[in-house]
């Protein structure tokens, strides 16, 4: 049957994008649009004593100014949503309003919004708002925030502790006690920005009794739901459109104050409103990711048999809890067993408030942190054991699938030896050792670092993640609607909301094969709550594994109906009809058949003896809630060169073998892997969100936040193995986050490997030249340099 699935088709999305004719949110300006600009706090923590908006309001262009006092006047009924209510766990949630009320808690906290004529004029007017602040004590360090007597971010909570959450399986104390060797490391996973190249933006447009909100979002349906709930609107009157979205990486998996506020103000003023985030705002107020300090213990017997892993995680959640903030570190806990048979696995998480921007999901969301801990500690442990790091891994790989970890999580399928074997076909370790010696002669340190990972994605089986399970206040199923038109052309609606992943192409390939048509005639619609059924959006590497299966199921329903129609028309039995060579034909009699266009024609113009129990038309909907997650995996190696004189790290080569099941379009998988690797090389070597002790953001623009460019990165070598997942009919697993999840550990291990001749045995990210140079200066001391 398959003809298009598996092919490297050029993307259907691209012609409009390469010609500059895509329509991103800033490209949309309805007639009569007013512009919005925000007045944001320069203070990390302060009481708002007064806000003087009179000068701004005296400007001719200014139509309205709102502050935190106006929430009621704007009809905003409640604070911004936080959607995680884990059973039996107290989560202390300080109210988070679209505009600060009485107190600001991090730099950039919005204090007022200025609305009026002109993009430029509103920025001027925002400078004319004078806010008097009474500074409060600031805490930015996560461990300091937990000390007795620390300044409190929210004094009424009486603590900076947000919550305590644990997940474990097996007796961790016993497992570590029976180990011959236990490595203990303090693993710092620093704060980063998602930094899509398109910042966020919102256009809110009142229409009759309803409201249309266009937003650069990954989750239009969530945004609609919360707009309705927070504004007291009936849900059908609210339409949310995710237009062309210029990258998300989790940064746009959010229900933002700006979305709620613009919608409310547009409703009140009866005018379209527009706000486009600046990059400076993005760095300051769009949620960050990572920012965890973990104390990891990993134990093994002398022969390398792993016994247990315990991670004690302190997660910096920033000043507020946004949509998923406190749940993010927990996502990693589910894969803390990695690819390995640990007898016991225990994760204990403490969420902490600080006077910094909230953290939330950024590409990988908890799983890069978990994998980093596991894979870095595997190398550390191997070294302590005097074992080859790959031998230690191989000795402990799960080999039988489905594989149940000590946590009770069941890995759907895998072939960990297979992906590592494939990796070593591309990377010759002996040849590398020769290169290493040669480089050493030239004063350069070469290192190689591996990461053999598995991750959990395809979010998610609702029974596991929902209110009675993990505690997310939503299902995480997905929807699809497949509509065959009169002429046999196809439009399909997906509840996912792709923003670069390419599902307009891959879903068309999937449908085309099943309906015997050309993908060119299959249009995939997404990102508009006004069309198609409710959907859950794009994040957590779910779009293909969950959304794709929904597409398959809806398409199968169409096929079933089409078979009935063909059977009726050709006087055959429906079970004798098959799709072959672009036709619905009778098995064994290929000359007897109909194209999809002919089937549609029959469905749209029922003949005289059309069966009474058969509806006309050809259109089906499916909702799919997966039975399990999917667990992509792979093996990566980074080869780095360290200049011991300057501490500079150059990634010379990076090889990745990933397995996300059978490929729908290999080009797009490669692309996801490339981007994921770059994101994590970025984190490991370049990127860091940094606040000073006063809570001022030091890395507030792309000048200081070092997103690497093409000139700073190598080309990547990618390959795949294909181990189908039994969870869905396509056999696919998510791939959007895999590169990010695997790569920080590979790079970190490579840098440590390179530095071992200097006496350094361990280092935390970011592996900046300054840090490495300092570590080399301090090497040979007890700590082996700063950690």
């Amino acid at each position: 049957m398959t003809t298009f699935v598996g092919q490297r088709l050029k993307r259907k999305e691209d012609p409009r994008l390469i010609t500059g004719r895509g329509s991103y949110v800033d490209d949309i300006t309805p007639a009569g649009t007013l512009w919005c600009a925000f007045v944001r706090s320069p203070e990390a923590h302060a009481k708002i004593v007064s806000i003087d908006t009179s000068l701004a309001e005296s400007r001719d262009e200014v139509i309205a100014v709102f502050t935190g006092e106006d929430m009621q006047a704007l009809g905003i009924l409640d604070a911004l949503p936080m959607a995680w209510v884990p059973p039996d766990v107290e989560v202390r949630n300080a109210p988070h309003w679209p505009l600060a009320r009485g107190e600001v808690n991090h730099v950039g906290d919005p204090v007022a919004v200025i609305i009026g004529e002109g993009r430029y004029a509103m920025q001027d007017a925002a400078e004319d708002v004078f806010v008097e602040y009474e500074p409060l004590d600031v805490v930015t360090d996560i461990e300091a925030a937990l000390q007795e007597g620390s300044p409190l971010v929210h004094s009424d909570l009486g603590t900076n502790t947000v919550h305590e959450w644990s997940l474990g399986g097996g007796d961790i104390e016993a497992a570590l006690a029976e180990a011959d060797v236990v490595v203990e490391r303090r693993v710092v996973n620093h704060r980063i920005s998602g930094a899509p190249i398109e910042p966020r933006g919102v256009v809110a447009e009142p229409r009759g009794t309803g409201l249309t909100l266009t937003s650069a979002t990954q989750v239009p349906h969530f945004v609609r739901l919360f707009l309705a709930l927070l504004l007291g609107e009936s849900e059908e009157k609210v339409r949310v459109i995710a237009p062309e979205v210029g990258g998300g990486f989790g940064a746009k998996l959010q229900v933002c104050g700006e979305e709620i506020l613009l919608a409310a103000a547009a409703r009140k003023l009866g005018r379209p409103l527009k706000w486009i985030e600046t990059r400076s705002e993005h760095m300051m107020v769009t949620h960050h990711g990572r920012d965890q300090i973990a104390y990891v213990k990993m134990g093994a017997k002398r022969d390398g048999t792993l016994t247990g892993i315990h991670s004690r995680i302190f997660a910096d959640l920033g000043a507020y809890l946004m949509l998923l903030t406190p749940s993010i570190p927990s996502l990693g806990a589910f894969v803390m067993s990695g690819c390995y048979r640990f007898g016991a696995v225990q994760t204990d998480i403490t969420g902490v408030y600080t006077n910094k921007c909230p953290t939330d999901a950024i590409r990988g969301a908890g799983r890069p942190e978990a994998t980093h801990m596991i894979e870095v500690c595997m190398d550390q442990l191997a070294h302590e054991l005097g074992m080859d790091p790959l031998e230690l891994r191989r000795k402990n790989f799960f080999t039988e699938f489905p594989a149940e970890t000590a946590l009770g999580i069941v890995y759907d399928s895998g072939d960990y030896h297979g992906s590592l074997d494939r990796l070593l076909e591309h990377f010759d370790r002996d040849a590398f050792e020769a290169e290493r010696s040669q480089a050493a002669a030239n004063g350069k340190l070469l290192g190689c670092g591996f990461s053999t990972y598995t991750e959990i994605c395809g979010l998610a089986p609702s029974r596991v993640t929902g209110p009675q399970g993990f505690g997310l206040q939503t299902g995480l199923w997905e929807s699809a609607m497949v509509r065959v038109h009169f002429t046999g052309a196809v439009t399909a609606y997906t509840g996912t909301s792709p923003h670069g992943q390419g599902q307009e192409t891959t879903f068309a390939q999937v449908i085309a094969d099943r309906l015997g048509v050309d993908p060119a005639n299959v249009e995939i619609m997404h990102g508009d709550t006004g069309t198609g059924p409710h959907g859950l959006g794009t994040y957590g590497s779910r779009a293909t594994a969950v959304g794709g299966e929904a597409i398959v199921r809806a398409t199968n329903k169409v096929v079933e109906k089409a078979k009935k129609i063909v059977a009726h028309a050709l006087e055959a039995a429906p079970e004798d009809i098959e799709v072959a060579d672009g036709r619905f034909s009778v098995k064994g009699s290929p000359e007897k058949g109909m194209t999809l266009a002919e089937v549609a024609g029959a469905a749209f113009i029922p003949d005289a003896d059309w069966p009474a129990d058969m509806e006309p038309g050809l259109e089906e909907t499916a909702f799919y809630d997966p039975e399990n997650f999917v667990f992509p995996f792979g093996a990566h190696v980074a080869i780095v060169e360290v200049d011991p004189e300057t501490g500079n790290v150059d990634v010379k080569r990076y090889v990745a073998v990933d397995d996300c099941g059978p490929a729908i379009n290999p080009n797009l998988i490669d692309g996801q892997i490339h981007g994921g690797i770059a994101h994590s090389i970025g984190q490991a070597l370049y990127e860091r969100i940094h606040y000073d002790e006063a809570g001022q953001l030091v890395t507030g623009t792309f000048v200081d936040y070092c997103l690497p460019s093409a000139a700073d990165l190598p080309s990547f070598q990618t390959d795949r193995t294909e181990t189908p997942s039994p969870v869905n009919q396509l056999g696919v697993k998510g791939i959007g986050e895999a590169g990010t999840i695997a790569a920080t550990a590979a790079v970190t291990n490579a840098v440590i490997d390179a530095l071992r001749p200097t006496g350094i045995t361990y280092l935390n990210m970011p592996l900046t030249p300054n840090r490495i140079w300092e570590a080399i200066q301090g090497a040979g001391t007890e700590t082996g340099g700063p950690s």
Binding site: Q123, R688, C706
Partner: protein, 289 residues
């Protein structure tokens, strides 16, 4: 982000531009390529009320060589118009100055940013001021009425973003001596290729019979102004040019420096970098010479 409002003039002659700047007083700024000024204005860290755009002023763009061209004695002078872009400087075959200009930021910035602009801005992290220190270049400043003065680079850069240029003056030309017979090296260290220099070192070496007859070393981002590493020069001048002598001289690279620390580099690290990069730049210069 966008700039605050300002008045704008694009005069057709140097004198009109100078008159306009003088009339505008302290809050008037000359606009060349705008790649130092406009980003600051967009972040509202600068808010001049008048921009005097020099794009129509004739005679400010281009590279020419005066004096004893081709004699090989290095006595000629290269004259670079203030409005000459970094790209044009990088393509002009000027040795050290071209090599350094080719590393500034990125292709697009080099297409717009100008030598006069970057010099007038006086950022100790930018490439060309340190290069001019090493080259012993001069900055020609012209005042209303056309009177001009030639300020040595060593006297021009006075503090962080502060130069000897008077508010009513414009840089019209940068002059550097031809360096025929000199070897040069440029070593820049930054985190990303498009970043400003964490530290950069410009080196010029003249060798006669294997001995360093003269040497000049300019340091970038090792103080609030670009510097000359005179201790390095003194240590190397007159010495045989060997890896050892260069390494020994380079050890003095951080003498009398006061590098500004930032998130990416401590003072101590920058001093170390200065020594390493100086050694490398001198080695390059020795090879090239």
């Amino acid at each position: 982000m966008i700039t605050a409002e300002f008045d704008y003039l694009a005069p057709d002659s140097l004198d009109e531009a100078l008159q306009a700047l003088a009339a505008g007083g302290e809050d008037a700024k000359a606009l060349a390529g705008g790649h130092s000024l406009l980003p600051l204005m967009k972040l509202r860290l600068a808010a001049p009320t008048l921009l005097v755009d020099l794009r129509r002023v004739p005679g400010l763009r281009g590279v020419s060589r005066a004096g004893a061209e081709g004699t090989g004695d290095g006595s000629g002078t290269i004259r670079i118009g203030a409005m000459t872009t970094h790209h044009e400087v990088s393509a002009a075959g000027l040795g050290l100055a071209s090599a350094a200009a080719g590393t500034i930021a990125d292709q697009q910035v080099r297409n717009r940013g100008t030598l006069g602009g970057t010099v007038a801005h006086g950022d100790p992290a930018s490439d060309m001021p340190g290069v001019l220190m090493a080259l012993e270049g001069t900055i020609t400043a012209t005042a209303p009425g056309g009177a001009s003065r030639e300020i040595p680079a060593t006297a021009f850069f006075q503090d962080y973003l502060e130069t000897a240029l008077e508010a009513h003056e414009l840089i019209t030309e940068i002059r550097v001596p031809a360096t025929d017979g000199w070897g040069y090296g440029y070593e820049k260290f930054n985190r990303r290729q498009e970043d400003w220099a964490m530290v950069a070192v410009s080196a010029l070496v003249k060798a006669e019979g294997g001995v360093c007859s003269d040497v000049r070393v300019g340091l970038t981002h090792m103080a609030s102004t670009p510097l000359r590493a005179t201790a390095v020069e003194d240590a190397l001048r007159g010495q045989p040019l060997t890896a050892e002598s260069i390494a020994a001289a380079a050890e003095h690279a951080a003498d009398a420096t006061n590098p500004p620390a930032d998130l990416n580099a401590s003072q101590e690290y920058k001093r170390h970098l200065a020594r390493v990069l100086t050694r490398r730049a001198l080695a390059q210069a020795m090879q090239a010479g």
